[in-house]
Symmetry: D2
């Protein structure tokens, strides 16, 4: 109800602000019997953590996750999995200057108005720090998907107006992490990196698009009528900090198409029914049809910029503000593992939900 | 869990297939004491119903909603509101030819695979007929929003590549219903209508965009971190039949912008804090900031076309299929009241949720 | 949230007041592929309906349930099952005399205070009429349990102080319906019937106990720590009109026992582990252990009596009131199918939930 | 879904086994603006902790709770409150002897069968250790109730067959903690303590009853029809380890009463409508009527006894087992703060839910 849980069967609940001692959460509904690969979880944490390259924030956070319950001798027991990530690098004093100021596009104002109180240090609950818990949950979820041969790969497909125009089938998704911007097209990656560097030097920030690919999904995931697979996926993506848009299949891109062009003809291949084209993006009538799901998530530019901006303080008086500290000029490279995680959470939840569909 | 309910406090649960005797549902959590304006509900039903103009399906459905409970002497009692809409115009025989065929882009294949059984008549549960129940729920929800001065207006902003480039503030939203395509720009409306007519004559279909505007919302709606206001709104929109994309504020449109351009500076106006620009679309950190919410929903072209298409039957054999009956060449004009309804459902739910935020 | 739904996977939502045109509801999450035996559903309705014997209310209600969706050619399709039961025998005028009066122990006062408005006719939403919808849901649930060999039998085990002291294993549960009070001990049944008749002639009412027996349940149903099987069962029972107490296994009855007496020793039988005694009532640590579940539900005396009582009107003035119309002197015989239904709803929900426990 | 959360608005989710490093949880939905009294929380922890008297287990656990989020400068911020309690006194080797044995009436067998794996050390998730997290949640909830003048007092009312026959109104509930058994009748308390000592010396255990009293509750809490106030309360109580029975008002005790005796006549007192008697126990039609709620929870004898018992091992072979370590001869004195906590959780949840009832 208060919005800190996601999923109906495989359910992640998180807590934590950026400047408390720790953040963490509970994964409830993880099936028993999974030999949890802790290194794989930690690997995803590394992909999200600050300081990993020159185009992301230079803050240092180790982000070592500790699992506190629900695992016995390396195997999940079916009971809730508590976990915790210590917060490091506390510099609460860094935030005294924003205590009484509403930073543009941050949650300072809306949280203050909503709750009448806020933890202003580092963005509190609305800090992207919170997404570390999503990555933990998603990395556990992914290990269940692995058993079913379901693979999720996200990558940066647009930075500002620099846009990747290749289909995922025409690239090697195994190369996503080969460059620091996480775009599987090496040439475009160079351009993207250059663009982010350029913007960073201006003290500015930039947004873009992360594309997600889900392969190996069985037919039949998704629930009519409100919990369509792409609706739940969309909600999960739109809940990520700075995400403002989502589409699945050819949506914004396919606006000029007619039904006769957009319809994916069914064909029979090796005794299995599939579709010739895949404009639908793997989802029809809200249910997976066995084809690859591809979706896009639009991220706005990071709100904290290293330039002077006018804003108001909590008394409504005009004040000038300038970003301090170490911030991301572009959220996209670090958003990739978060998109992976949210997709994994939604897919494993629907996978488990689908177990109750038939007699 | 099975996906036929939406909302946490104000909750709509629906049932029904296109060819049963009736469809209907239950609205649970509607506050007591609302003098329900039944004509206003019926008015929304008229906006959604088939046969209302030459650019939509010519099917005849009266769509008279009957309220069965939860209302006493015209006032809601706080108990669940059951409602029912009779299905008319049954022609189940019309569907014998698709009994064993998977129509492209319909749910025939995915439902059959998911459930092992399906009601193939008229699309069964995945027929857009189901959206009539959403309109009932939304029309009740809107009456609560009315009391708070919250207004929702949706309109068609793009048909194929014909795109409205005006901001909602530069148009009279009171004129949306003045033309049959429901675009508040009369000139562009003519072009859109002509385009739909053209496509219809080809036996084809076309998609587009519905833009939604929410005005008068108080600051503070939306819940961190997974139930951000635009995330719940996005899910609601993506759950509408044929919806494939969603964005809120300047998302896809703002991809070239830098943080310094995108940030909405806070200003003080008449003692109230607000923002100068509104690229965020009325939502910051997932919570309404008092500015207008504007969002876009992308609809794919209608799947049923009046042209021959190749597909397979349930045995996987290639067959030719051709649309019959009366279908929409473009879903957008009739989608407008559905977008209104889904937005109202999400807003009233968050409005009620916000009552429990503070001590 | 507003309390008109029960179940997490197999979910029943109901609507309806006693004097509207109909009551009904939606069963969501019923697995696809069940050949629904409509007569079996109707049979349970007959067991609950008024007028079936001299010791229950003589009101006439046919209680014919109509299924509106979710069933195609006799088989459940996995989509929501809407259903409706017409209300007959409207005599709203009968209730004018209680319009402004708070009947003792009815919901008149609490509903009026809670909602500020109430449908006073026949008890509105707090009428036991509502339980007819529970019986529909339970009768569908039971058909799923039948496939798994799970059998539920409830019977009247106490009327006033007349108490059955036999264990369910020492009686033939197939004879429950052989007498009008629904007690499988024919001699005691006669005493119970005589007691109810006696009380009825006094214009008074009496309470008692319904015992429920669940046989054939697999080991492993129930979820730690809040959704223990007997906790969910207890809630379901306590939600029935007039139910005030619940226990499972030897609880109230076993208060004198020590641990050494109460503990059910594990033994091995034909290669299966089971327990020698069954004081636990089939549930250990909140999870079914394969032994029979037995539980008791205490019902208070019916509130409407055919005697003069003092009470107050809505203005707080003392007034005298006397029951009119046709009411049950004892709710127990008609409560039996409701207890069956609620038990079936809880068991099928946990059965489906248990499908997601292991990898 | 997996059963480790309770509450719909004020929601507690817990994790943890008895022998991991810590147990803990997340309280989501706690309203912002509460000045949290941490000492009051810790006080409740002390009431539950082992080793507090000679009639409870002599295990040492400090049970210091650490709050990790959701509180800023001593005030709740409306964001989730994470908390943690370190586990001390690890002696996992103590449990090697039960690794392959199913202890009678413990969850060893049902958990093993349900999950295929279990953490056998100290009962794992089904250890009463878990209830410490309930006390944290309840102690926070109680502080909200305090603001509304709602008071909850539980006490031991029966140990074995030694039964308190006084009404709560005839005792001073401020004296509950004055004796180690937590019974507000000092004479009976002595008898209860003697009885527990006696049983403990036999190496045996004994059960009994905790009575709960809720005073100051406003009229109108509880939701029709499935979430009746006493139904939710009953579920919460039955979910406590070793709880097997529940009733509210005169249920089991009132079985001989007729309607004319049981009905609580409405009267007007100082302009307020109330009832003369209170056999209903403060709840009518599932909704609080402003009178004191009183309820009883039956606890079975503790399963671990210091006597030899026969059981089977995981291979189904007969083995002899004998309790070791430090266990409670009677769970009741330490159950009192847990009953308080669960009652507070249910009441605050319904209090918040009631904020959305009216327009």
């Amino acid at each position: 109800m208060a919005g800190n849980s996601i999923g109906k069967i495989f359910q992640l609940t998180t807590y934590g602000e950026s400047h408390a001692e720790s953040i963490g959460g509970v994964i409830d509904g993880c099936p028993a019997g999974l030999s949890l690969d802790l290194e794989a979880v930690q690997h995803e944490m590394q992909r999200r953590k600050p300081g990993q390259s020159k185009i992301v924030t230079q803050r240092k956070e180790e982000d070592e996750v500790a699992f506190l319950s629900g695992i016995f001798e390396g195997v999940t027991t079916g009971t809730p999995i508590g976990f915790q990530i210590p917060n490091e690098d506390h510099k609460s004093k860094d935030y005294d200057h924003i205590k009484d100021v509403y930073r543009p596009n941050h949650g300072d104002f809306t949280y203050q108005e909503k709750y009448g109180v806020r933890d202003y240090r580092g963005g509190g609950r609305y800090s992207a720090r919170e997404t570390a818990c999503r990555v933990v949950g998603g990395a556990v979820a992914q290990q269940i998907l692995d058993k079913e041969g379901i693979r999720i790969d996200s990558y940066v497909s647009q930075v500002g107006l620099i846009k990747l125009d290749k289909c995922h089938e025409d690239m090697d998704l195994g190369t996503i992490d080969d460059n620091i911007v996480r775009c599987p097209d090496p040439e475009l990656a160079e351009q993207m990196i250059a663009r982010i560097e350029e913007v960073r030097k201006e003290g500015d920030t930039i947004g873009g698009v992360v594309t997600g690919i889900i392969q190996g999904l069985p037919v039949g995931l998704g629930e009519p009528v409100f919990d369509k697979l792409h609706a739940d996926l969309g909600k999960a993506m739109l809940s990520i900090n700075a995400a403002k848009g989502f589409d699945c299949g050819w949506a914004f891109a396919g606006l000029g198409m007619k039904g006769s062009e957009f319809n994916d003809a069914f064909v029979s291949e090796d005794g299995n029914i599939t579709t010739k084209s895949n404009y639908s993006g793997g989802v029809q009538a809200g249910i997976s049809n066995g084809r690859d799901i591809y979706f896009q998530v639009v991220f706005k530019p990071v709100s904290t910029i290293m330039q002077k901006q006018m804003t108001v303080n909590t008394d409504g008086e005009e004040v000038e503000i300038e970003g301090r500290g170490r911030h991301d000029p572009c959220v996209l490279p670090r958003a990739v593992p978060i998109v992976d995680a949210m997709a994994a959470l939604v897919m494993v939840d629907h996978l488990l939900r689908s177990r109750t569909t038939k007699l």
